[in-house]
């Protein structure tokens, strides 16, 4: 029981990070119908920018953890968002209206280029992030096993929940969110009604990248070590989460992220940690075969 509770706490933390990345996939897919394969790399860049910022904070003598975290959060979100914007502008926008697989192939190119860009500029070795927040709280003890939730895990869940709530509000109640939903439903009609489509799509990428940056920062704090290759696996798992929840649906992405976190942690905890990635890929395949619309997605009607 104690072991189970501990695994559940770890799973929710991991699921929160996946959920944040998954939102980027699901929003982009919802609005322009493409899989932004480079999104995992944006997450990786976010983690690296956070690493540099944390080190700068230490260099400038900002000792208090909350101040440093908020500072890094804002800077990482802002600068990673530029990456999201630039990628859309350079690699995807010229391809709008090209054949269906063109943006996906372009995205694979972006992904390879970004990985090697970071490898060249930052080196291939894993980077230790140091521990910014340590300590925790013992929930209860059972069977001689302490069930513990660390402050960091609490921070991760709180930040994620706050951002997701803010984000859902943004989509539901602001003019920008309304424009996004309009583009999602019918881009041509939205354009006729005076919605600036290019701006809306750009902002979608910017928001997705900003959330991926948060995920990158939390990942850095949680695992304490990053390298240029983390984006690939995390990206695929987050994509799986988006598909599992129903691609195009925001609550679906959060739910999917949570489920993927649970599956991965419990598989590693109870079966074998070597095959935990196989389990996640297996889930992806099974979901796509048996329920391609995901748990909360709407079926897509293909028109001639």
């Amino acid at each position: 029981m104690a072991y189970f509770s501990q695994q559940l706490i770890n799973a929710i933390t991991l699921g929160a990070i996946y959920g944040l990345i998954a939102i980027g996939y699901t929003m982009v897919y919802g609005i322009i119908g493409m899989i932004n394969f480079a999104h995992g790399e944006i997450f990786m860049i976010g983690a690296f920018i956070s690493l540099v910022c944390f080190m700068l904070c230490a260099l400038l003598g900002i000792g208090s953890a909350p101040v440093a975290i908020i500072l890094v959060l804002v800077v990482a979100m802002a600068f990673t968002a530029v990456y999201g914007w630039a990628i859309e502008r350079l690699a995807y926008r010229p391809l709008r209206g090209s054949f269906r697989l063109a943006p996906l192939i372009s995205a694979i190119g972006v992904s390879i280029a970004l990985q090697n860009y970071v490898q060249l500029t930052q080196g291939a070795r894993p980077k230790p992030g140091g521990d910014i927040v340590s300590g925790g709280y013992n929930l209860f003890s059972a069977d001689g096993f302490d069930v513990r939730v660390t402050w960091l895990q609490i921070i991760i869940v709180v930040v994620t929940v706050a951002l997701m709530a803010g984000f859902t509000w943004l989509i539901a109640h602001t003019p920008l969110g309304r424009q996004q939903r309009a583009c999602e439903q019918d881009m041509k009609m939205a354009a006729l009604c005076g919605v600036d489509i290019n701006r809306t799509i750009s902002l979608t990428f910017v928001m997705g990248a900003a959330l991926a940056a948060v995920a990158g920062m939390l990942f850095l704090m949680y695992y304490g070590v990053i390298d240029f290759f983390i984006g690939f696996l995390a990206g695929i798992k987050a994509f799986t989460a988006a598909v599992l929840g129903g691609i195009g649906s925001l609550p679906g992405a959060m739910l999917g992220g949570l489920l993927i976190g649970i599956i991965e942690v419990f598989w590693a905890g109870y079966f074998s940690s070597e095959y935990k990635d196989v389990a996640v890929f297996g889930i992806l395949v099974l979901v796509l075969i048996f329920r391609p619309t995901g748990l909360l997605g709407q079926p897509e009607i293909e028109k001639v």
């Binding site: 690493l51 697989l101 090697n116 970071v118 500029t121 080196g123 293909e302």
Partner: protein
């Protein structure tokens, strides 16, 4: 050119630099380096590099907008200037910046020449002779390349390095042609193609080391194993739409790699399988001394032993395998099944309305493509004599896909050109070294943006109900 236009161009270039600075400041400007395990990381500041790169970006953007505006001479001059500066002994902080500057110049010059070239080809097509020349050129290019490929080992250029590279390029040509069936003809984006390559390689490695079977016996078995995997994996997923299929195939590719990595008893895990025997010619081995009961090629032919003999033999094997792949594809395109592949690529719903079963047709394309990957895989194992899961990572799939896409999906000759470009050039330019994959990724994006149909852009169906008359192929 008016002052207002110049000003807007400068403003545009300035904005580009601003964005580039935001992109680069943390990732390029602060290089994190290890300083021993106790102290963690420290910074290595690279601001000079960053500033130089930003200046290059400013002029690069300016040159591109000049070319786009149609001011060809200033753009060409700027591009040539940048190339000259890149090649000059001027000391920039790193060699990379020289490359960056030079290649930026090349890009601008290409962009400028493009305008002229487009004009020239359009006007050439106006005349009968020009149009016919274009057709003959495309047709004879294949024969010319084939002739070069056949006589290459006999020419004086064929030293060990060249032959090694030629074998490598031909392996990728074969893989490209195999994947072309799946991606180019049937229009299914397969991101896990390397899995079938791995199945072929491990089939040969295991059959030869465990049961002592020879290359020529295992080759068809390996192809069949890979095709079976193609069927097994394809069957559940081929109902999915384009990009979902791509991600699922990627997932399968990774699953197979992870299984190879972790199934220690069968595959020896990350350590790989070594001492795989090479292929034989009528029972003769290519080595200095033959194992008991066999003889060497040198003894059989009565010529002195030479290490290059093995390489030349491998070269001809892979050339033959590649040509078989090509011939097979060309013949398949004339059969109903090949026509169905192309029809399916063009319009799936129409196909279904005509009574074609999309899943079965896709499955055959998938299995045939997988079979050729299996052949290539067992050749790879026989050539390397050592295989490990390292060789079958996602990036390999991406490279093969890039070859197909760059060549122009569905074009056979395009795959050859793209393999020479993508595999050959980086090997020659060892100076680029680790920048190879960076350039590779960027090239994929640039091709998609500027020439989404690839180098040889021919996506004409093999057969048409009403032939189109001389509409100027493009």
């Amino acid at each position: 050119m008016t002052g207002a236009r110049v000003r807007s161009m400068l403003k545009d270039a300035g904005l580009t630099v601003f964005v580039a600075a935001a992109l680069g400041v943390f990732i390029v400007g602060f290089r994190t380096i290890d300083v021993g395990s106790t102290k963690g990381l420290s910074f290595d500041y690279q601001f000079v590099d960053l500033v130089v790169a930003l200046v290059v970006i400013f002029f690069g953007r300016l040159g591109l907008s000049l070319a786009a505006e149609g001011s060809r001479w200033p753009a060409a001059a700027l591009g040539t200037g940048m190339i000259a500066a890149g090649l000059s002994p001027l000391t920039l902080p790193s060699t990379f910046l020289h490359w960056f500057l030079g290649l930026g110049g090349v890009l601008i010059v290409i962009r400028t020449i493009w305008l002229w070239a487009a004009d020239a080809t359009t006007s050439a097509r106006q005349f009968q002779f020009g149009a016919r020349l274009g057709r003959v050129g495309t047709r004879s290019l294949g024969a010319l390349l084939l002739a070069i490929a056949v006589v290459l080992p006999l020419t004086p250029f064929a030293d060990q390095k060249t032959m090694d590279l030629a074998v490598l390029i031909l392996t990728y040509v074969m893989l490209g042609w195999g994947l072309n069936i799946v991606v180019g003809l049937a229009g299914l984006l397969d991101l896990g193609y390397v899995a079938f390559y791995a199945v072929g390689a491990y089939s040969y490695a295991l059959f030869s080391t465990q049961f002592g079977l020879g290359f020529w016996i295992v080759l068809p078995i390996a192809g069949m194993m890979a095709a079976t995997f193609g069927l097994l994996l394809g069957f559940p997923v081929l109902r999915l739409r384009g990009d979902y299929l791509a991600i699922v195939t990627l997932g399968f590719g990774e699953i197979i790699r992870l299984i190879i990595l972790n199934w220690f008893d069968l595959t020896n895990g990350p350590a790989g399988i070594g001492s795989i025997p090479g292929p034989t010619l009528f029972g003769a081995v290519f080595a200095e001394t033959a194992p008991p009961g066999q003889r060497t090629f040198a003894e059989m032919m009565g010529v002195p032993f030479n290490g290059d003999q093995r390489l030349v033999f491998l070269y001809y094997i892979v050339l033959a395998l590649a040509l078989v792949t090509n011939l097979f594809t060309q013949r398949m395109r004339r059969l109903p099944i090949g026509r169905a592949w192309e029809a399916l690529r063009e319009d799936e719903i129409a196909c279904r309305a005509l009574g074609i079963n999309p899943t079965n047709i896709k499955l055959t394309a998938f299995a045939v493509g997988a079979m050729f990957a299996g052949f290539a895989g067992s050749f790879f194992a026989a050539k390397q004599r050592f295989i490990s899961p390292e060789s079958f990572v996602f990036i390999e799939s991406a490279i093969i896909l890039a070859i197909v896409v760059l060549g122009g999906m569905g074009s056979q000759i395009g795959v050859v050109l793209a393999s020479v470009l993508l595999i050959g050039l980086p090997e020659w330019f060892r100076g680029l070294g680790s920048y190879r994959m960076l350039a590779f990724g960027l090239a994929m994006v640039l091709i998609m943006v500027f020439r989404p149909r690839g180098l040889i852009a021919r996506r004409e169906p093999s057969v048409r109900l009403h032939p189109v008359v001389a509409r100027g192929e493009s």
